[in-house]
């Protein structure tokens, strides 16, 4: 079974304008994943997640690395998206594991927290 360990190494958060906490959440997520090291049974990925509101009035950046351990096929399955529009499982797992942190930061900044589920690739 594929095991994923997520290690958060950096958090940046900025807010340039006052945002109504009760307004609907409208964060977009920009993702960068890149291979750091790979062996036959493990793959380490560097990740950076940028959560931004449309006018960049608030931005939360999380960076770190994720280690996938499993067979070659399990690892391949974890990094392969089911189709062109949907995220690969590893990205869903990274976002899920970090969501608690994202929620706390957004709450502390008094901005509507980003929504908890990754849906699809934006055009």
């Amino acid at each position: 079974m594929l095991e994923v360990a997520v290690l958060l190494e950096r958090i940046d958060a900025t807010k340039t304008e006052k945002i109504n906490e009760n307004s609907p959440s409208n964060f977009n997520l920009n993702v960068s994943l890149s291979e750091k090291t790979r062996s036959a049974e493990a793959l380490v990925l560097n990740f950076q997640l940028d959560l931004t509101t449309p006018q960049s009035t608030a931005k939360i950046t999380l960076a770190g690395n994720a280690t996938l351990k499993g067979t070659k096929d399990e690892i391949q399955g974890g990094i392969t998206a089911p189709d062109d529009n949907r995220p690969p499982q590893v990205l869903i797992t990274i976002y899920e594991r970090l969501y608690g942190t994202v929620y706390l930061i957004a709450s502390a900044m008094k901005v509507p927290p980003p929504l908890p589920n990754l849906l699809k690739k934006a055009p």
Binding site: N30, A40, L45, L118, K121
Partner: protein
């Protein structure tokens, strides 16, 4: 089940995608063997220091009986444990030395004219790195990268 010591000395084949990964693995393997060797020999050493005047009798148990095709010790668990740890330490020494030698001379492997896309199969025999296959039939996977924008939902 709890692995006490020496359980990492297995036989098997491991694939590596780069020589740097292989070198790192050998270094970690050597460190692990050294740690296990130190720990086990400390146990034996401290016992011999305390009861050394009795010689090897302290370690050698007479409580072994052959049951089926395995030796079982019910009557002297402490001595029995010491004896097997002593045996393990004796076996560890040459494995440790051989692994150390492989790592010391690994530079000569790195200087071979190896195709860039090759991968490497390491054969470990009883924990000792014994053979290395430079495999050009299974190429290294293309480095993974993903960039994109995703929408979020409830």
């Amino acid at each position: 089940m709890v692995g006490e010591t020496g359980v990492s000395m297995y036989s098997g084949v491991i694939r590596f995608y780069t020589l740097a990964d292989l070198r790192r693995y050998l270094k970690e393997l050597l460190e692990r063997y050294q740690k296990e060797f130190d720990r086990s020999s400390n146990v034996i050493g401290s016992l011999l220091r305390v009861e050394g005047q009795k010689g090897m009798e302290v370690i050698m148990s007479k409580g072994w009986a052959k049951v089926g095709s395995i030796f079982v010790n019910i009557s002297e668990p402490e001595k029995g444990s010491m004896e097997v740890v002593f045996q393990l330490v004796t076996e560890m020494k040459p494995r440790l030395a051989k692994t150390e030698e492989v790592l010391k001379t690994f530079e000569s492997v790195e200087q071979l004219p190896i195709p860039e896309e090759a991968t490497f199969l390491l054969y470990l025999r009883g924990g000792v790195p014994e053979r290395l296959v430079v495999d050009t039939t299974e190429p290294r996977p293309v480095p993974y990268a993903l960039r994109g924008k995703f929408t979020l939902g409830p």
